[in-house]
Protein backbone atom coordinates (compact mmCIF):
# COMPACT_ATOMS: atom_id res chain seq x y z
CA UNK A 1 0.00 0.00 0.00
CA UNK A 2 1.20 3.44 -0.88
CA UNK A 3 1.88 5.37 2.39
CA UNK A 4 0.33 8.45 0.80
CA UNK A 5 -2.87 6.47 0.11
CA UNK A 6 -3.02 5.29 3.72
CA UNK A 7 -2.68 8.87 4.97
CA UNK A 8 -5.30 10.12 2.55
CA UNK A 9 -7.71 7.29 3.42
CA UNK A 10 -7.29 7.83 7.16
CA UNK A 11 -7.82 11.58 6.72
CA UNK A 12 -11.13 10.90 4.98
CA UNK A 13 -12.17 8.42 7.66
CA UNK A 14 -11.27 10.83 10.48
CA UNK A 15 -13.36 13.52 8.76
CA UNK A 16 -16.32 11.06 8.63
CA UNK A 17 -16.43 11.04 4.80
CA UNK A 18 -17.02 7.88 2.77
CA UNK A 19 -13.92 6.72 0.87
CA UNK A 20 -12.82 3.65 -1.05
CA UNK A 21 -9.37 2.11 -1.37
CA UNK A 22 -9.04 0.54 -4.80
CA UNK A 23 -6.26 -2.05 -5.09
CA UNK A 24 -5.18 -3.59 -8.39
CA UNK A 25 -4.33 -7.11 -7.24
CA UNK A 26 -2.25 -7.64 -10.39
CA UNK A 27 0.42 -5.05 -9.68
CA UNK A 28 -0.45 -4.09 -6.07
CA UNK A 29 -1.07 -0.44 -6.93
CA UNK A 30 -3.76 1.39 -5.02
CA UNK A 31 -5.63 4.65 -4.98
CA UNK A 32 -8.18 6.42 -2.80
CA UNK A 33 -11.53 7.33 -4.32
CA UNK A 34 -13.96 9.67 -2.57
CA UNK A 35 -17.72 9.25 -2.86
CA UNK A 36 -18.80 11.13 -5.98
CA UNK A 37 -15.35 11.10 -7.68
CA UNK A 38 -15.96 10.26 -11.34
CA UNK A 39 -14.61 6.84 -12.41
CA UNK A 40 -15.48 5.66 -15.93
CA UNK A 41 -16.80 2.32 -17.18
CA UNK A 42 -17.53 -0.95 -15.39
CA UNK A 43 -15.06 -0.14 -12.63
CA UNK A 44 -16.95 3.09 -11.99
CA UNK A 45 -20.21 1.13 -11.74
CA UNK A 46 -18.68 -1.32 -9.26
CA UNK A 47 -17.37 1.61 -7.20
CA UNK A 48 -20.78 3.35 -7.11
CA UNK A 49 -22.35 0.05 -6.05
CA UNK A 50 -19.81 -0.37 -3.24
CA UNK A 51 -20.57 3.11 -1.89
CA UNK A 52 -24.30 2.40 -1.97
CA UNK A 53 -24.14 -0.99 -0.27
CA UNK A 54 -21.22 -0.17 2.04
CA UNK A 55 -19.86 -3.64 1.22
CA UNK A 56 -16.27 -4.34 0.21
CA UNK A 57 -15.62 -6.90 -2.53
CA UNK A 58 -13.42 -8.27 -5.29
CA UNK A 59 -14.22 -7.24 -8.85
CA UNK A 60 -12.99 -8.80 -12.08
CA UNK A 61 -13.05 -6.13 -14.73
CA UNK A 62 -11.70 -6.50 -18.25
CA UNK A 63 -9.38 -9.31 -17.21
CA UNK A 64 -8.01 -7.42 -14.21
CA UNK A 65 -8.66 -8.23 -10.59
CA UNK A 66 -9.43 -5.40 -8.17
CA UNK A 67 -10.25 -5.20 -4.48
CA UNK A 68 -12.67 -2.44 -3.49
CA UNK A 69 -12.45 -1.68 0.21
CA UNK A 70 -15.18 0.80 1.06
CA UNK A 71 -15.07 2.79 4.29
CA UNK A 72 -18.41 4.30 5.27
CA UNK A 73 -18.51 6.32 8.51
CA UNK A 74 -20.33 4.65 11.41
CA UNK A 75 -23.78 6.22 11.85
CA UNK A 76 -24.16 8.77 14.63
CA UNK A 77 -27.32 9.89 16.41
CA UNK A 78 -27.56 13.39 17.87
CA UNK A 79 -30.53 13.95 20.16
CA UNK A 80 -31.53 17.47 21.12
CA UNK A 81 -33.23 17.18 24.49
CA UNK A 82 -32.29 15.29 27.65
CA UNK A 83 -35.86 14.14 28.22
CA UNK A 84 -37.58 10.91 29.22
CA UNK A 85 -37.65 9.64 25.59
CA UNK A 86 -33.88 10.19 25.31
CA UNK A 87 -33.29 8.14 28.48
CA UNK A 88 -35.00 5.17 26.80
CA UNK A 89 -33.37 5.87 23.43
CA UNK A 90 -29.78 5.92 24.77
CA UNK A 91 -29.45 2.17 25.53
CA UNK A 92 -31.39 1.24 22.37
CA UNK A 93 -29.07 3.29 20.15
CA UNK A 94 -26.08 1.63 21.77
CA UNK A 95 -27.45 -1.87 21.11
CA UNK A 96 -28.24 -0.93 17.48
CA UNK A 97 -24.61 0.21 17.01
CA UNK A 98 -25.29 3.94 16.85
CA UNK A 99 -22.93 6.38 18.50
CA UNK A 100 -25.42 8.63 20.34
CA UNK A 101 -24.94 12.01 21.98
CA UNK A 102 -27.38 14.30 23.74
CA UNK A 103 -27.41 18.10 23.75
CA UNK A 104 -29.63 20.11 26.09
CA UNK A 105 -28.74 23.48 27.65
CA UNK A 106 -31.12 22.89 30.56
CA UNK A 107 -28.69 21.70 33.23
CA UNK A 108 -31.50 20.26 35.35
CA UNK A 109 -32.29 17.82 32.50
CA UNK A 110 -28.79 17.10 31.21
CA UNK A 111 -27.30 15.41 34.26
CA UNK A 112 -24.96 12.39 34.32
CA UNK A 113 -27.26 10.80 36.92
CA UNK A 114 -30.09 10.71 34.38
CA UNK A 115 -27.77 9.75 31.50
CA UNK A 116 -24.96 7.44 32.59
CA UNK A 117 -22.56 6.10 29.91
CA UNK A 118 -23.49 8.54 27.16
CA UNK A 119 -21.96 11.68 25.65
CA UNK A 120 -23.92 14.52 27.19
CA UNK A 121 -23.55 18.24 26.52
CA UNK A 122 -25.36 20.70 28.81
CA UNK A 123 -24.96 23.51 26.27
CA UNK A 124 -26.85 25.22 23.46
CA UNK A 125 -27.04 23.04 20.31
CA UNK A 126 -25.60 25.76 18.05
CA UNK A 127 -22.45 25.99 20.25
CA UNK A 128 -21.84 22.23 20.34
CA UNK A 129 -22.68 21.70 16.65
CA UNK A 130 -20.06 24.32 15.82
CA UNK A 131 -17.39 22.12 17.44
CA UNK A 132 -18.94 18.78 16.43
CA UNK A 133 -20.43 19.40 12.98
CA UNK A 134 -23.32 17.37 11.60
CA UNK A 135 -22.81 15.34 8.40
CA UNK A 136 -24.74 13.03 6.03
CA UNK A 137 -23.95 9.99 8.24
CA UNK A 138 -25.60 11.60 11.25
CA UNK A 139 -29.25 11.38 12.34
CA UNK A 140 -30.76 14.23 14.34
CA UNK A 141 -33.83 13.93 16.57
CA UNK A 142 -35.13 17.06 18.29
CA UNK A 143 -37.33 16.28 21.27
CA UNK A 144 -37.34 19.28 23.65
CA UNK A 145 -40.62 20.87 22.47
CA UNK A 146 -38.86 24.21 22.97
CA UNK A 147 -38.32 26.21 19.74
CA UNK A 148 -35.43 28.13 21.32
CA UNK A 149 -33.50 24.86 21.65
CA UNK A 150 -34.87 22.80 18.72
CA UNK A 151 -35.01 25.23 15.80
CA UNK A 152 -31.30 26.07 15.44
CA UNK A 153 -30.41 22.39 15.50
CA UNK A 154 -33.09 21.54 12.94
CA UNK A 155 -31.94 24.24 10.57
CA UNK A 156 -28.35 22.98 10.80
CA UNK A 157 -29.37 19.34 10.36
CA UNK A 158 -31.21 20.17 7.14
CA UNK A 159 -28.29 22.19 5.82
CA UNK A 160 -25.79 19.40 6.64
CA UNK A 161 -27.83 16.81 4.70
CA UNK A 162 -28.27 14.52 7.72
CA UNK A 163 -29.70 11.16 6.60
CA UNK A 164 -32.48 11.52 9.17
CA UNK A 165 -34.08 14.58 10.72
CA UNK A 166 -36.98 14.03 13.11
CA UNK A 167 -38.90 16.47 15.28
CA UNK A 168 -41.22 15.70 18.19
CA UNK A 169 -44.57 17.47 18.24
CA UNK A 170 -48.11 17.34 16.93
CA UNK A 171 -49.07 18.34 13.39
CA UNK A 172 -50.22 21.70 14.76
CA UNK A 173 -46.86 22.27 16.47
CA UNK A 174 -45.13 21.28 13.25
CA UNK A 175 -47.10 23.80 11.17
CA UNK A 176 -45.81 26.59 13.41
CA UNK A 177 -42.31 25.10 13.28
CA UNK A 178 -42.36 25.15 9.46
CA UNK A 179 -43.07 28.89 9.52
CA UNK A 180 -40.18 29.54 11.90
CA UNK A 181 -37.76 27.41 9.81
CA UNK A 182 -38.73 29.32 6.67
CA UNK A 183 -37.90 32.52 8.54
CA UNK A 184 -34.50 31.00 9.41
CA UNK A 185 -33.91 30.41 5.68
CA UNK A 186 -34.71 26.68 5.25
CA UNK A 187 -36.22 25.84 1.87
CA UNK A 188 -39.53 23.99 1.33
CA UNK A 189 -37.61 20.98 -0.02
CA UNK A 190 -35.43 20.86 3.08
CA UNK A 191 -38.39 21.23 5.44
CA UNK A 192 -40.22 18.40 3.65
CA UNK A 193 -37.44 16.03 4.79
CA UNK A 194 -38.34 16.44 8.47
CA UNK A 195 -40.02 13.40 10.00
CA UNK A 196 -42.86 14.82 12.07
CA UNK A 197 -44.71 13.53 14.00
CA UNK A 198 -41.51 11.71 14.96
CA UNK A 199 -41.11 7.93 14.77
CA UNK A 200 -42.65 5.08 12.78
CA UNK A 201 -46.38 4.83 13.34
CA UNK A 202 -46.62 1.91 15.77
CA UNK A 203 -49.15 3.57 18.05
CA UNK A 204 -46.39 4.43 20.55
CA UNK A 205 -47.72 5.97 23.77
CA UNK A 206 -45.08 5.81 26.51
CA UNK A 207 -41.66 7.51 26.27
CA UNK A 208 -40.00 4.10 25.84
CA UNK A 209 -42.36 3.16 23.01
CA UNK A 210 -41.74 6.49 21.29
CA UNK A 211 -38.01 5.76 21.58
CA UNK A 212 -38.56 2.41 19.82
CA UNK A 213 -40.49 4.19 17.05
CA UNK A 214 -37.72 6.80 16.65
CA UNK A 215 -34.93 4.21 16.58
CA UNK A 216 -36.82 2.17 13.98
CA UNK A 217 -37.36 5.26 11.82
CA UNK A 218 -33.65 6.17 12.04
CA UNK A 219 -32.62 2.64 11.00
CA UNK A 220 -35.10 2.70 8.11
CA UNK A 221 -33.73 6.03 6.89
CA UNK A 222 -30.14 4.79 7.09
CA UNK A 223 -30.86 1.57 5.22
CA UNK A 224 -32.84 3.47 2.55
CA UNK A 225 -29.95 5.91 2.15
CA UNK A 226 -28.49 3.81 -0.69
CA UNK A 227 -31.79 3.88 -2.57
CA UNK A 228 -32.01 7.65 -2.17
CA UNK A 229 -28.47 8.09 -3.47
CA UNK A 230 -29.27 5.75 -6.38
CA UNK A 231 -32.26 7.89 -7.32
CA UNK A 232 -30.11 11.03 -7.20
CA UNK A 233 -27.47 9.33 -9.38
CA UNK A 234 -30.14 8.35 -11.91
CA UNK A 235 -31.28 11.97 -12.03
CA UNK A 236 -27.74 13.23 -12.75
CA UNK A 237 -27.26 10.55 -15.45
Amino acid sequence: MDPYCLKKLNAERRARRAALLLTDLGDGRDRVIKEGDPVAGLLGDAISQAFLSGKSSLAEIEGRSFFLNVHVPPPRLVVIGAVHISQALAPMAKIAGYDMEIIDPRTAFATPERFPDIKLFAEWPQDILEQRPLDPYTAVAVVTHDPKIDDQALERALKAGCFYVGALGSRKTHTKRVERLKALGSSDDEIALIHSPIGLDIGAASPAEIAVAVMAEVIKAFRARGLQTARNLEKTV
Binding site: N10, L25, G28
Partner: protein, 110 residues
Protein backbone atom coordinates in the same frame (compact mmCIF):
# COMPACT_ATOMS: atom_id res chain seq x y z
CA UNK B 1 -20.22 -1.01 11.82
CA UNK B 2 -17.63 0.02 14.37
CA UNK B 3 -18.08 0.09 18.09
CA UNK B 4 -16.08 2.58 20.20
CA UNK B 5 -13.44 -0.02 21.13
CA UNK B 6 -12.78 -0.75 17.46
CA UNK B 7 -12.47 2.95 16.75
CA UNK B 8 -9.76 3.27 19.40
CA UNK B 9 -7.85 0.24 18.11
CA UNK B 10 -8.34 1.00 14.43
CA UNK B 11 -5.71 -1.02 12.52
CA UNK B 12 -5.30 1.51 9.69
CA UNK B 13 -4.78 4.41 12.11
CA UNK B 14 -2.27 2.28 14.02
CA UNK B 15 -0.46 1.40 10.77
CA UNK B 16 -0.11 5.12 10.03
CA UNK B 17 1.29 5.86 13.47
CA UNK B 18 3.74 2.94 13.22
CA UNK B 19 4.88 4.24 9.85
CA UNK B 20 5.43 7.70 11.37
CA UNK B 21 7.64 6.05 14.03
CA UNK B 22 9.77 4.60 11.23
CA UNK B 23 8.63 1.01 11.70
CA UNK B 24 8.27 -1.34 8.70
CA UNK B 25 4.63 -2.35 8.34
CA UNK B 26 2.58 -4.94 6.46
CA UNK B 27 -1.18 -4.76 6.03
CA UNK B 28 -3.30 -7.92 5.71
CA UNK B 29 -6.84 -7.57 4.37
CA UNK B 30 -9.68 -10.09 4.11
CA UNK B 31 -10.67 -9.84 0.42
CA UNK B 32 -13.06 -12.77 0.10
CA UNK B 33 -14.98 -15.11 2.38
CA UNK B 34 -17.03 -18.28 1.83
CA UNK B 35 -19.40 -19.85 4.31
CA UNK B 36 -19.21 -18.81 7.92
CA UNK B 37 -16.21 -16.52 8.26
CA UNK B 38 -15.44 -14.78 11.54
CA UNK B 39 -14.43 -11.38 10.11
CA UNK B 40 -16.09 -9.61 7.17
CA UNK B 41 -14.45 -8.70 3.86
CA UNK B 42 -12.37 -5.56 4.31
CA UNK B 43 -11.12 -6.43 7.83
CA UNK B 44 -7.47 -5.65 8.55
CA UNK B 45 -4.57 -7.05 10.52
CA UNK B 46 -1.49 -4.84 10.63
CA UNK B 47 1.95 -6.21 11.47
CA UNK B 48 5.35 -4.59 12.07
CA UNK B 49 8.80 -6.03 11.40
CA UNK B 50 9.12 -7.20 15.02
CA UNK B 51 5.88 -9.18 14.80
CA UNK B 52 3.71 -6.75 16.76
CA UNK B 53 0.18 -6.77 15.42
CA UNK B 54 -3.23 -5.11 15.76
CA UNK B 55 -6.64 -5.99 14.34
CA UNK B 56 -7.79 -9.38 13.04
CA UNK B 57 -8.63 -11.31 9.88
CA UNK B 58 -10.24 -14.25 11.69
CA UNK B 59 -11.24 -15.12 15.22
CA UNK B 60 -7.60 -15.79 16.06
CA UNK B 61 -7.43 -19.05 14.07
CA UNK B 62 -5.03 -18.03 11.30
CA UNK B 63 -3.43 -14.84 12.63
CA UNK B 64 -0.20 -16.65 13.53
CA UNK B 65 0.24 -17.83 9.97
CA UNK B 66 -0.64 -14.43 8.49
CA UNK B 67 1.90 -12.74 10.78
CA UNK B 68 4.65 -15.14 9.66
CA UNK B 69 3.84 -14.50 5.99
CA UNK B 70 3.69 -10.75 6.68
CA UNK B 71 7.27 -10.79 8.01
CA UNK B 72 8.38 -12.26 4.65
CA UNK B 73 6.34 -9.68 2.77
CA UNK B 74 7.99 -6.89 4.79
CA UNK B 75 11.49 -8.16 3.93
CA UNK B 76 10.75 -9.02 0.26
CA UNK B 77 8.24 -6.33 -0.66
CA UNK B 78 6.05 -8.49 -2.93
CA UNK B 79 2.36 -8.79 -2.00
CA UNK B 80 0.89 -12.27 -1.38
CA UNK B 81 -2.56 -13.78 -1.54
CA UNK B 82 -3.20 -16.35 1.20
CA UNK B 83 -6.08 -18.77 1.40
CA UNK B 84 -7.33 -20.55 4.52
CA UNK B 85 -9.93 -23.29 4.69
CA UNK B 86 -11.16 -25.71 7.32
CA UNK B 87 -8.46 -27.11 9.58
CA UNK B 88 -8.51 -30.71 8.37
CA UNK B 89 -8.49 -29.92 4.65
CA UNK B 90 -4.71 -30.23 4.41
CA UNK B 91 -2.59 -31.57 7.22
CA UNK B 92 0.13 -28.94 7.02
CA UNK B 93 -2.13 -25.91 6.90
CA UNK B 94 -3.65 -23.98 9.77
CA UNK B 95 -7.37 -23.48 9.30
CA UNK B 96 -10.68 -22.13 10.40
CA UNK B 97 -12.50 -24.37 12.83
CA UNK B 98 -15.76 -22.61 11.97
CA UNK B 99 -15.78 -24.33 8.57
CA UNK B 100 -15.50 -21.19 6.49
CA UNK B 101 -12.82 -20.18 3.99
CA UNK B 102 -11.10 -16.83 3.63
CA UNK B 103 -8.71 -15.16 1.24
CA UNK B 104 -6.25 -12.68 2.74
CA UNK B 105 -4.15 -10.18 0.78
CA UNK B 106 -0.88 -9.23 2.48
CA UNK B 107 1.09 -6.21 1.29
CA UNK B 108 3.90 -4.05 2.55
CA UNK B 109 3.21 -0.42 3.43
CA UNK B 110 5.51 1.64 1.17
Amino acid sequence: MQNPTEQIRDPLLIAESWMAEGRDVAIATVVETWGSAPRPVGSHLVIDEAGNFEGSVSGGCVEGSVIAEAMDVISQGTPRMLEFGVADETAWQVGLSCGGRIKVYVERLG
